[in-house]
């Protein structure tokens, strides 16, 4: 159970990224965060594993406040939270295997990791993770030789090496084409259903949200403006939609599929 309470983040330059955000995520959820660019989705995800330090508020995970952790304690908690990124964030010049093994750093002593002496168990785990994501043939290639979809799967394999209880996914499919987007999200869905991992994922496309989420929150200007289950999203109203995406926004495709005024004019 993850519980966010009154989370606020104000950057040094005065930008308010999150304002008093509160919500809770039961274990095993597939929570999707939606909202415009700059609405605070990335900041929210990064506050949970403390890549960004929140200004105020609590992040309670199984009763422990992650916002207060420092040093070794923080690193020990981070081991259990996998993270995947829009730009994959692989070390491009390192091999796929090295990138995957990096997920194990939190469990490995400094000396062993620097000299590359990972345990037999870790190496077996890496092979299993790569096999699970269909990357066995790519193991020794350099990360930047892989296609976008493959790179994101390496990112998932790296997260898997952490044996995470929760995975944070920051727009994991925004750099991929729709077919690959489904493939990646299906991997996440499998981790959610089969491995019972909690997934917190930010997404842009409503059809993907409806297809994969078990619950949804909407952010606008750092505030939570929408909370609902997967079923609720299927029946999202125009008013709710505009509260998330702004008054100017028009829904495309998805459910209503109405043309915008400009497009009417053009047609």
């Amino acid at each position: 159970m993850l519980e966010i309470r009154h989370l606020t983040k104000i950057y040094d330059d005065g930008t308010v990224a999150l304002r008093d955000v509160s919500f809770s995520v039961p274990d095993g959820e597939f929570l999707v965060v939606i909202g415009l660019s700059g609405s605070g989705k990335s900041t929210l995800l990064r506050c949970i594993n403390r890549l960004i330090d929140p200004t105020e508020g609590e992040i309670l995970w199984d009763g422990e406040d992650l916002a207060k952790l420092k040093g070794d304690d923080l690193r020990k908690v981070r081991r259990h939270i996998g993270m995947i990124f829009q730009q994959f964030n692989l070390v491009k010049r390192s091999s796929v295997l090295t990138n995957v093994m990096a997920g194990r750093l939190g469990y490995t002593s400094t000396w062993r990791s620097i000299s590359g002496q990972f345990s037999q168990k870790d190496q077996q785990m890496a092979r299993d993770a790569l096999e699970r994501l269909g990357l066995t043939d790519q193991t020794d290639k350099r990360a930047d030789e892989l296609s976008g979809g493959q790179q994101q799967r390496v990112g998932i394999a790296r997260a898997l090496m952490q044996e995470p209880k929760m995975i944070l996914a920051d727009e994991p499919v925004a750099s991929l084409d729709p077919v690959l987007a489904h493939s990646i999200l299906q991997h996440l869905e499998r981790l959610n259903k089969e491995d019972k991992m909690t997934i917190i994922c930010s997404l842009h496309y409503l059809d993907l949200v409806q297809r994969y989420s078990t619950s949804v929150i909407g952010l606008k200007d750092g505030r939570v403006v929408y909370q609902g289950s997967s079923a609720d999203v299927r029946n999202i109203t125009d008013a709710q939609f505009k509260s998330i995406y702004g008054e100017e926004a028009e829904r495309m495709g998805g459910i209503v599929g109405e043309l915008t005024t400009e497009e009417k004019g053009a047609a």
Partner: protein, 503 residues
């Protein structure tokens, strides 16, 4: 440009056009200033002042001996007609400025100043031509004299090989003067050596301003064919001198069988015998210079190779020292690592500033400073290149650190890695390629620079090159130049290969 347009369209001139023109006749450019074209007026004023000043300088320089300025002017125009053209242009510009000021002040007419600026440019160009003493004709008239020298530089390899030479000699003996009962022992000739015979085997000296001495017939055989042979007189204690006829050394060239025959008049120079002995025995020797044995590398070639090796290692050592010292400095000069707080940011600015100053001073200047500090030799060169290398590499490295992708760092941080693991898995893989690339590039530069550094005494082949050029030994200099060119070309290729492999 923008302000001038703005002014001419909105603000009227401070004075009537005619006044602006007259002011400009007194002080060129000031009319424009009064007409609210300040920048243009100032530029024109400075231009014409500079032109006139430069022109006067060149006139005085060309006719230094004259006292009176008019005489100076006439002399210099005579020597350098281009100065007259420049003067005409200056006067033309001066008048044009006044006219332009008149037009500028007149609001209705926009002056077309393009031609005025062109004149200004041409004047400066001609001044530059004169100051630079540019004489393209000398390239052709003088240039052809340099072909023999240049050909020695271009193809110096004759000097790269040395053939050991030895004198091939044969002699016979003569008794002076002819003395009864003196028997000459036969000359022992070893197998293969030349044989010389003289008839008669005795004779009298020439007298100074008197009778010529006895004429001997000298024949030689077994010498090298078609080779110049010197004739020497040698006494029993190895005093020797070359035989002359009419003041010139006598040379005889052997025929195709290696034989010669020559008439030799015994000169007065041959030391007469003391009274007790009554006679003296002289050898008459034929002597040829002949190469013997295999050709060997010349001393110059070996020296050039030695110094080339020194140069390569000079470059290598200064690169290594440069790397060791610049890596830590580069972290201090990387903005993304140093912008955490005000103190580190201050350090960043100070380090950057110092690096920029060091880098802006040429390695040659550093070499001169280092030579003063540690004396001539490769160590001074290493110090100079190291100092410059620190600044250059420090900048390049720090820029490489600044440009690393922070995404992977974020991802590795998120796995619970500690700081060292983060650096090892996230930072190092990203900075190795640029570091390797810059380092090899620097080595390349250092080897090339070390040839130049050598010219001021910082060790390496440059020192040798300058010495040989000053001794007018163009063949040896050519060898040095060839070695430098070959080494630089190889290094260029190798460094490109390595960089391609790492990046």
């Amino acid at each position: 440009m923008r302000t001038r347009k703005f002014e001419s369209e909105t603000k009227p001139s401070l004075v009537p056009p005619i006044v602006a023109g007259l002011v400009s006749l007194v002080l060129p450019g000031f009319g424009h200033m009064l007409a609210r074209a300040f920048g243009k007026g100032l530029t024109l004023f400075l231009s014409i002042v500079a032109m006139t000043g430069l022109w006067i300088w060149r006139v005085r320089l060309e006719a230094r001996r004259e006292v009176d300025f008019l005489a100076m002017f006439q002399k210099s125009i005579q020597l350098r007609p281009i100065l007259l053209i420049i003067l005409i242009l200056i006067v033309l510009i001066y008048l044009w400025i006044a006219y332009d000021a008149y037009k500028t002040a007149d609001k209705r007419k926009k002056p077309k100043s393009g031609f005025l600026w062109l004149l200004v440019f041409i004047s400066f160009f001609l001044l530059g031509w004169q100051i630079g003493e540019i004489q393209p004709a000398t390239l052709i008239t003088e240039g052809k004299n340099s072909f023999p020298l240049l050909s020695r530089v271009l193809w110096p390899w004759e000097k790269a090989i040395y053939r050991p030479e030895e004198y091939l000699t044969g002699y016979a003996e003569v008794v002076i003067p002819c003395t009864e009962g003196v028997e000459l022992e036969p000359v022992v000739v070893e197998e293969g050596d030349p044989v010389v015979t003289i008839t008669p085997t005795c004779g009298n000296l020439s007298e100074i301003d008197g009778d010529p001495g006895t004429t001997l017939t000298m024949t030689g055989s077994g010498f090298l064919p078609n080779t110049e042979t010197e004739i020497w007189w040698i006494d029993q204690v190895q005093n020797k001198f070359r035989h002359r006829a009419a003041g010139d050394y006598v040379k005889v060239t052997t025929d195709e069988n290696g034989s010669f025959s020559l008439d030799v008049v015994i000169p007065y120079r041959v030391i007469p015998a003391t009274n007790e002995e009554g006679y003296v025995v002289w050898r008459l020797q034929g002597s040829q210079l002949a190469s013997v044995g295999e050709p060997v590398p010349s001393e110059e070639l070996l020296l050039a190779i030695e110094k080339m090796i020194e140069t390569i290692f000079l470059g290598m050592m200064s690169t290594i020292f440069g790397i060791i010292l610049s890596v830590p400095i580069s972290f201090l000069a990387a903005r993304n690592l140093m912008s955490a707080n005000k103190i580190t940011l201050a350090i960043y600015f100070v380090v950057r500033f110092v690096l920029n100053i060091i880098r802006s001073i040429e390695p040659l200047v550093w070499a001169v400073i280092a030579i003063i500090a540690v004396g001539l030799g490769p160590f001074a060169g290493i110090i100079a290149l190291t100092i410059h290398g620190i600044a250059a590499l420090g900048k390049l490295y720090s820029e490489a650190i600044e440009s690393i992708d922070s995404g992977p760092l974020e991802a590795i941080n998120a796995t619970g890695a500690n700081w060292l693991q983060l650096v090892w898995y996230g930072v190092i893989p990203q900075i190795i390629p640029p570091f390797v690339s810059f380092t090899i590039y620097r080595w390349d530069i250092n080897v090339r620079m070390s040839t130049v550094i050598g010219m001021v005494g910082g060790g390496g082949i440059g020192y040798l090159l300058v010495q040989w050029i000053r001794l007018l030994d163009y063949r040896s200099a050519g060898i040095a130049i060839w070695f430098i060119a070959i080494t630089v070309a190889i290094l260029d290729y190798v460094s490109a290969e390595i960089r391609a492999r790492f990046v």
